[in-house]
């Protein structure tokens, strides 16, 4: 039996007496692209926040590469090779695109307490960061301040920052939020190129987008996984077809 790279068992989270996650079971194999969908307020983002350490789960197991990471801090989880992007963009707004990425690289993380060397003179680190920018389609934008990038470019940079950490597993929280159809198509292209290189989990509202990319999809509703399978299987699932999760064209 092959072990999943990432899995949760019976994940629980409540805020006060409101139960947000009740027994979520997810499993992601190495190299897969797994989608999470569901209506607003279904608990998708809370699920991400629990998985990446922002909130501590009230119960259940989160296992990454065979290790229980439930309750670890975001920093500890990031250092294990699990990286995320944010739905509401979370950038270093006064920094250039290059420095947004550079500051997230493991090489800067390792040398973060070096207080003498000028980071601006570190050509190798700059090249590494520039390569990440090129990967997300931001080549040529190195010296533009994050706050001055266009909306679509900021979306790409959001993914670039998450990628810079060289994760084994990448979580993307609604990467198409606010993008037009052209931007969404460009993003799908980017994710398709990343897909074979690392394991990805995406939360997404945009069903055609997700169904076109994902190997498997989990539908979350009322804090539980109510359906899962390949896109083809899910299209046949009567519950998914009946529920108003979005119309597939």
């Amino acid at each position: 039996m092959s072990m999943a790279l990432f899995e949760t068992q019976n994940l629980q989270k409540r805020f006060g007496d409101q139960v947000v996650l009740q027994g979520v079971n997810l499993s992601v194999d190495e190299g897969e692209l797994v989608g999470i969908m569901g209506p607003n307020g279904a608990g998708k983002t809370t699920c991400f926040n629990v998985l990446t350490g922002r909130y501590r789960p009230d119960g259940g197991v989160v296992r990454f590469a065979g290790e229980d990471i439930a309750g670890l801090s975001p920093r500890q989880i990031a250092r294990k090779g699990l990286s995320r992007s944010f739905q509401l963009m979370n950038l270093f707004n006064d920094e250039t695109a290059l420095y947004n990425v550079l500051l997230a690289t493991p090489s800067v993380r390792r040398r973060g307490f070096s207080m003498w060397r000028d980071l601006g003179r570190d050509a190798a680190a700059h090249d590494e960061a520039a390569a990440v920018l090129a990967r997300v389609g931001l080549g040529g934008k190195e010296d533009v301040t994050a706050a001055r990038l266009s909306y679509g470019e900021r979306r790409a940079l959001e993914i670039g920052v998450a990628l810079a950490a060289q994760p084994r597993l990448l979580f993307l929280d609604e990467p198409t939020a606010g993008l037009g159809s052209e931007g969404t198509a460009r993003l799908a292209e980017l994710i398709r190129t990343l897909k074979r290189q690392l394991t990805i989990v995406i939360i997404e509202h945009d069903m055609p987008f997700l169904f076109g990319l994902a190997d498997r999809i989990n539908v979350i509703h009322w804090g539980q996984v109510i359906a899962h399978g390949t896109p083809a299987e899910l299209k046949r699932n009567p519950w998914v077809a009946r529920s108003n999760l979005g119309q597939l064209s």
Binding site: D94, D118, L119, R121, A125, D143
Partner: protein, 340 residues
């Protein structure tokens, strides 16, 4: 892609200008109607303000109780000299370390906070230290302070330099000032300094890319308190005493005003400008009116309302406008080095 266009000069022009101007003061200050002690005091405040700006400008952490570490440095120097028999260099080093140690203790309690809660906690701790300085008579001399601190002699291998004159102490302090400023300049451009700026801009993201946000904030406070301690130690030498007033809330407020008016939020050199303006205003306005702080306070309000980025910010805006005109109206190149 080369990194060459993005690196900071080892010793940038403003540092040459500052140090050269300060070094030349013994030549012209008297003919300008001023006195050498003034330059010494301005330099000490510059040092204090630069250290404070590591927290406020680079880490985004508002400390309104920094006078405490300045004061601890002053008392530590006096006590090390009077009770420990330490020479100038050793006592000054001790002042830095002791101030940093108290800073480390306080920072351990506040580094999980930011914004207004952080500010309030720094005030509270600052007041605790001030109160101790006033009440612990046996150690600090209470309200009278610690008197008869000697400037003494700087003993280097094969060379003894008496520091009794204002000029001699000034040059000694200038060397200390220059070394600390070079160190700070390197620090803010190092990986540590750059991550610290990232923490200021977005603590959440910094944590999610794997940085130990708490430790960065803690270290920034410790270093800043240590620099305050050096400034305080030099101040004790300059004043030949240490007294509770230097730890007071309003002294802590002065350094914040220096940093903001000078433009510490947008420039490394803002605190240098701010300290210069503040002490000059105190002496020049103060010569005309007892109420100089009233006028200075009004100036501060006008500044915060209309030019929140301070003198350095005004200078940067003027330069950007100038560059635009030179480019025939093209937008200036957008680079992200706001605190350069």
């Amino acid at each position: 892609m080369s990194a060459d266009s993005r690196h900071a000069p080892l010793i940038p022009p403003p540092m040459w200008v500052t140090v050269a101007l300060l070094a030349s003061t013994p030549l012209w200050l008297k003919s300008a109607g001023l006195y050498q002690y003034l330059a010494l005091e301005i330099m000490i405040w510059m040092l204090f303000a630069l250290g404070h700006n590591l927290l406020l400008g680079y880490a985004g952490l508002p400390s309104f109780g920094h006078g405490a570490y300045f004061g601890i440095g002053a008392y530590a120097l006096g006590l090390l000299q009077q009770r420990g028999g330490a020479g100038v260099l050793l006592a000054l080093l001790g002042a830095a370390l002791i101030a940093a140690a108290f800073g480390a203790l306080v920072a351990a309690f506040i580094s999980h906070r930011r914004g207004i809660y952080y500010a309030l906690l720094t005030i509270a701790f600052g007041q605790v230290f001030w109160f101790v300085a006033v009440k612990w008579h046996a150690l600090t001399g209470g309200e009278d302070g610690l008197l008869n601190i000697k400037r003494g002699t700087l003993s280097l291998p094969g060379l003894d330099i008496p520091l009794a004159s204002n000029e001699a102490l000034f040059y000694f302090a200038l060397v200390v000032f220059t070394l600390v400023v070079i160190g700070l300049w390197r620090l803010v451009h190092s990986p540590f300094g750059r991550v610290l700026r990232a923490v200021k801009q977005n603590e959440v993201r910094a944590a999610f890319v794997g940085h130990d946000v708490w430790l960065y904030k803690w270290l920034a406070f410790v270093i800043s308190a240590g620099i305050a301690g050096i400034a305080g130690g030099l101040f004790a030498l300059a004043q030949q005493s240490a007294y509770p007033n230097v730890m007071s809330l309003h002294n802590s407020g002065f350094v914040v005003m220096m940093v903001l008016i000078g433009g510490g939020l947008v420039s490394f050199w803002g605190p240098v400008i701010g300290a210069l303006l503040f002490i000059l205003a105190r002496d020049l306005l103060g010569a005309y009116t007892e109420a100089w702080l009233l006028w200075y306070g009004l100036l501060f309000i006008v500044m915060v309302l209309f030019q929140p980025d301070g003198v350095a910010g005004a200078w940067q805006q003027w330069r950007a406008r100038w560059a635009r005109r030179g480019n025939g109206g093209a937008a200036p190149h957008a680079t992200g080095t706001k605190v350069a």
